[in-house]
Symmetry: C2
Subunit: 236 residues, 2 copies
DNA sequence: AACTGTGAACGGGTTCACAGCC
DNA sequence: GGCTGTGAACCCGTTCACAGTT
C-alpha cells in the first residue's frame, strides 16, 4: 500500500471508506472470542491460518475480513492479539459500556442475567423486569427484579436503550411495544415468537431451537444413508 | 411445470433432485415458526407475501425457498398452512422424535431443559447431566439429573445421538470429547468457547452474546451520528 | 522465508420478471 | 385476477493467486 493512511485519524480509527459487509460483521464476534482465548494463554501473535482454524473459517476469509478494519497485521509475522482485540472491539462498539435491561425473569431470563459473556463485552445488565409479583423484589445476579409497570420510568432514568426480551411468547409483542415506547432502540428477542417493531428499531431474533433443527436436517440425511447401509450395506 | 411429478414417491416425498441450499435450510425453521403461529390463529392459507412479511424476508425469497421442497403452493391462492407445516417438518427431519441430552445444569441448562420450543419440534430431552454432586439427583422438568460419570452408559442405553453442551467454558471441550466417545453425532454448544470435534460430528455453536454484539455495531453507528452531530461536528 | 493485503475470478444466493396455473 | 414457480440477471461474498512488506 503506497498511500499514507490518509483515511486514518491520529487515534488509529479508520474513517470508513467502504462499509463493512454484514457477513463480516457477523464474524467479528467470533474472532473476538478466539482472540480472547489466545490472549488468556499469553499468546501475543497469531497468523490468519491459526485464527482461521480456531474460528472455523479459512485463512483468506480471515485476512479479507480483517482488512476491512484496516491494515492491522504485520506481513511475515501475523496479527498482534491484543491490538486486534482492541480494534475489533472498537469497531463493534464494545469499548464503551452498554446498559441493558432484561424483561422476563423465568429460567432463561435468569440465565441471561448471569451470563458472563455479556459483561466481558461491555454489556452491563442494569435492570430486570417481570410481571409476576412473586418474582418482583427478588435478587438475581445482584439486581432486584422490578415490576414491569415500572419499565418506562426505570429505563428512562437509567438511559437504557438496549433490551433483551425473555418473556413467554404471548407477552413478547406487548413487551416490545412498551420497550420501544420507553425509548429502547435495539431489542434482542429470545421469546419464541416473531416480533413486529418499527423500522428504525434494531431487532434481532434468537431462536434456541433453530440450530437444533438445522442439526436435525443434516443428521437426518446421515441417518438415512446409515439405515439404508445397515439394511444391506455397500455404500460406506 | 409440464412434467408430471416423476421425482415424487407416492407419499409425496420428493426425491432430492438438487440439494437444498444451506441458506434455505437455515430459513426453514423460521417459516415453520410463523406457520405454526398462523395455524394457531386458524388461518388456513397464506400467500408468499404474508409469509414473507412475518418471517422478515421478501416474497420471491419465500417462493424460491419453498420451491426447493416441491410445488406445494396453489397458484392464484397461496400455500395451505397445515400442509406446508408438514412438508417443512418432514424436510427438516422433525416428523420423527429426537432424543436429546443436556450436559451442564446451571441456569442455562435448566432453562433449556424447560424450553417448550424443543418439544414442539420433536426434540425430547431424555437425559440431564452435571458434574456437581449437589445437583445430581435433583429433578428438572421431570427428569432426574445424572452424574456426568454416568454419561456414556446412559447415552448408549437411551440411544441418544444429539446433545446440548451448557457447561462452563472450561469444561466444554472435555464434555464434547466424552459425548463423541459415547456415540453422539450432533452437538449444539452453548458454552462460550470454541470447540474442536472430529469432522464427521455435526457441531453448531450458539453464542448468546454474538447477536448483542451485532446490535451494538449497528447501534453505535447511529449513536455515532447522533453524538457527532450533538458535539457540533460538521461531518455526518 | 513468512505472512499479510487485495484485485480479480468465481460461485452461491438473491432478486427480477414473467410464464404458468388456478 | 391473483399468486405461484422458475429461468435469467444480478450482486454480494468467498476464494484464489500473487504482489507487497517485514
Amino acid at each position: 500500500m503506497r498511500t499514507p493512511p490518509a483515511d486514518r485519524t491520529r487515534t488509529g480509527a479508520r474513517v470508513r471508506t467502504r462499509p463493512i459487509p454484514e457477513a463480516t460483521v457477523a464474524r467479528l464476534p467470533v474472532y473476538l472470542r478466539v482472540l480472547g482465548e489466545l490472549a488468556a494463554q499469553q499468546i501475543q501473535t497469531v497468523s490468519s491460518e491459526r485464527l482461521a482454524e480456531a474460528a472455523g473459517v479459512n485463512p483468506p476469509k480471515v485476512r479479507k475480513d480483517l482488512s476491512y478494519l484496516g491494515s492491522y497485521g504485520t506481513r511475515g509475522v501475523g496479527y498482534d492479539v491484543e491490538y486486534l482485540v482492541y480494534q475489533i472491539s472498537r469497531e463493534l462498539g464494545l469499548t464503551q459500556d452498554w446498559p441493558v435491561a432484561i424483561v422476563g425473569m423465568g429460567n432463561l431470563g435468569q440465565a441471561l442475567a448471569g451470563y458472563k459473556g455479556f459483561g466481558e463485552r461491555g454489556f452491563r445488565i442494569m435492570a430486570l423486569f417481570d410481571k409476576d409479583i412473586e418474582r418482583v423484589g427478588q435478587t438475581v445476579s445482584g439486581l432486584t427484579i422490578e415490576h414491569i409497570d415500572d419499565l418506562e420510568g426505570s429505563l428512562k432514568e437509567k438511559d437504557i436503550r438496549v433490551a433483551i426480551v425473555a418473556t413467554p411468547a404471548q407477552a413478547a409483542q406487548e413487551t416490545a411495544e412498551r420497550l420501544v415506547a420507553a425509548g429502547v432502540r435495539s431489542i434482542l428477542n429470545f421469546a419464541p415468537t416473531v416480533l413486529t417493531v418499527p423500522d428504525k428499531i434494531h431487532l434481532r431474533q434468537v431462536d434456541l431451537s433453530v440450530e437444533l433443527q438445522i442439526l436435525a436436517f443434516y443428521e437426518q440425511r446421515n441417518a438415512g444413508k446409515k439405515r439404508t447401509a445397515a439394511a444391506g450395506d455397500g455404500a460406506h
